[in-house]
Subunit: 374 residues, 2 copies
């Protein structure tokens, strides 16, 4: 069975919506935040620890798994769920973002057929096409596969973006034509930068191809402004069908999640909570804190007294600081648990706010507290 989306309720004052998705690995509510497990592991955490954070779908990266261990190995292991021991739903990206962001020396040659580039591991020559991306994802056997798209930089011109999204549309069609995994949903991706007409065109044409869900891409590149991100969402959402999931790729800043939900987005993913954790940073209701700061040496209180995560129930800032400053990996793991739970808790509260038609009040209160200087 492919995952199915059910719209449960629309918030009265905004485009925010409450939904439910049915998957082969359980039923989950949206809006939802998806932790990222780049190489088939959410860095430093067991799947049980990830689930204890309240996670539903997790994301794994097609590019990384294609290179190591290779999709055929994962297939022989019985697919990604068995390979990584995660019995919840898994979404794989297309590899496109990594090809454009990670390729060695950023050397790449984009042709109609696909993208030539060099491996970020050993510099070897690689070629990724829309068909190959889907074929890899079919073998990985994730629950949701993404169409292969070009992710142009924030600095790209209108003309470049126009040509690029037209090619991305042709790539989406090619990928859909070869998609053959009956248990795997396939999502299309809307591009078009911050331009209203390009987003409209991209969304409309992508929807015509009839995907199982739609993603808003091109919002998480380096150098993109918040304003461009909100425009990309606002200009895409009106053309997406109500009965399909809407996915904002690569976004995990708490305020961006709130703004995305208000604009009609259902699911989000980002490496942010785990990446900042490994550098000693924790989300709190009053903004991010850095546990490397010496003021936490003798702070024997949890990161947040009100937090219900494993880390806050058992550990103090002083101990976590000790782990981080002595480079003990448990420090990054404990902060990852807190940060993932923080974002998942945020989506739980957003769902409540949608139920109660008070999401604008929720946003105001959250931002006021979050923007405080500690």
């Amino acid at each position: 069975m492919k995952i199915k989306y059910y719209l449960k309720k629309k918030e009265k004052n905004t485009k925010a919506r409450l939904g439910k998705i049915e998957t082969n690995y359980g039923t989950y509510d949206t809006p939802m935040f998806m932790p990222v497990g780049t190489r088939a592991t959410i860095k430093g955490l067991t799947p049980e620890q990830v689930k204890e954070c309240g996670s539903g779908i997790v994301l794994a990266n097609t590019y990384h798994l294609w290179l190591r261990p290779g999709e055929d190995i994962v297939k022989k292991a019985g697919g990604l769920h068995k390979f990584m021991n995660y019995d919840g739903p898994i979404l794989t990206d297309s590899g496109g973002f990594q090809v454009f962001s990670l390729a060695k020396n950023k050397e790449k040659d984009i042709t109609e057929d696909g993208v030539f580039f060099k491996s970020h591991i050993d510099g070897s020559n690689l070629f990724l096409t829309p068909e190959k991306s889907i074929e890899i994802q079919n073998k990985l056997d994730s629950d949701i596969a993404m169409s292969f798209d070009e992710c142009p930089p924030a600095s790209a011109s209108y003309d470049y973006l126009k040509n690029s999204l037209e090619r991305t549309l042709r790539w989406a069609k090619r990928g859909k034509d070869v998609h053959s995994n009956k248990n795997q949903a396939l999502f299309g991706i809307v591009q078009g930068g911050p331009y209203k007409d390009l987003r409209k065109f991209s969304a409309t044409e992508t929807v015509k191809l009839d995907f199982d869900g739609y993603s808003i891409g091109g919002v998480a590149n380096d150098g993109e402004s918040k304003d461009d991100m909100y425009k990309a969402i606002d200009y895409s959402i009106p053309y997406l069908p109500e009965d399909k999931i809407r996915y904002l790729m690569g976004v995990g800043d708490p305020i961006d999640i709130i703004e995305g939900v208000i604009r009609g987005v259902d699911i989000f993913d980002c490496v942010l909570p785990t990446r900042i954790a490994r550098h000693g940073q924790a989300f709190t209701r009053c903004g991010k804190i850095n546990l490397n700061n010496s003021k936490f040496i003798e702070d024997f209180t949890p990161i947040e007294k009100s937090c219900d995560c494993y880390t806050c129930k058992h550990y103090t800032k002083g101990y976590i600081r000790h782990l981080i400053t002595t480079k003990e990996s448990l420090g990054g793991s404990l902060l990852s648990i807190h940060n993932i739970r923080f974002l998942i808790k945020l989506t739980e509260e957003l769902r409540d706010a949608i139920k109660n038609d008070c999401i604008l009040e929720y946003r105001e209160k959250f931002i006021k507290e979050y923007s405080q200087k500690k």
Copy 2:
């Protein structure tokens, strides 16, 4: 309450013994293997994961905690148990071994008063005395503290060892005189290298000082032979009281644990299971295996089918190899769980063998299987 040892049974054919220790954090059976949490964390594992391996006492390193975060910080946190969130018993070493093995450039000046040396972190000048070691451990509030001893290298001469152990005896007395934590047991350490008369002298004189338990030291330095280790045990044990714990420091090779138990040792500690784990190695009944080996790429079976650890219940060699070769920290954590469980399971089986008076048969069978080439 200080921990208490009860001798439950002696094995019929050897010096092996079954015991029970009562602590403020539960009652545990001996022989026992103690995982090492150098900086108040068993690397990459939560305390729950360590406990799930069947652990009782865990070890933390006084030297490391003295340097970072400092014993006063740990005391302010409410002691080591609260600091690291471990509600089982904790043993702290004296710092002596690290002073002699880790000190920067091995530069150190051993005087009657104590040892001058340079920090392995920043090269700063440090001075550790028997009194200071005990004072630090009192503040850390571990359940078992160790006397500060000199750990001479395997190459030391008879005369050097004799002078050294006499000073270690004076240091033991000085440490005992300042020991003031009523809930903390204090152990003496027997030195004397592989020499029968030195071990007898050291054991006899140390026992006269009346410690809560006794450790056999000087067996885990680089370059020490197995033969020297067995001699050190054989020449020390006869002079140690039956109603006190006997602790062989720094030993974690499976065969050494068996040989130690047969010679009358009760507790062991070693970084081996966690250190080799981070390098991709796993204990098995048929010897150690290295998961970096390419033959495991498509091996979708657990490390050991018969193993009851979390790792073997949920993960394959192929997946763990993927994690290890891509430097994902979960790989080292999963292997640490398996390796710790392997040694704890070994001690469980040794306890059964003592109950059934068949430890020699157990040793023969274990060694035969363990020494097979895979």
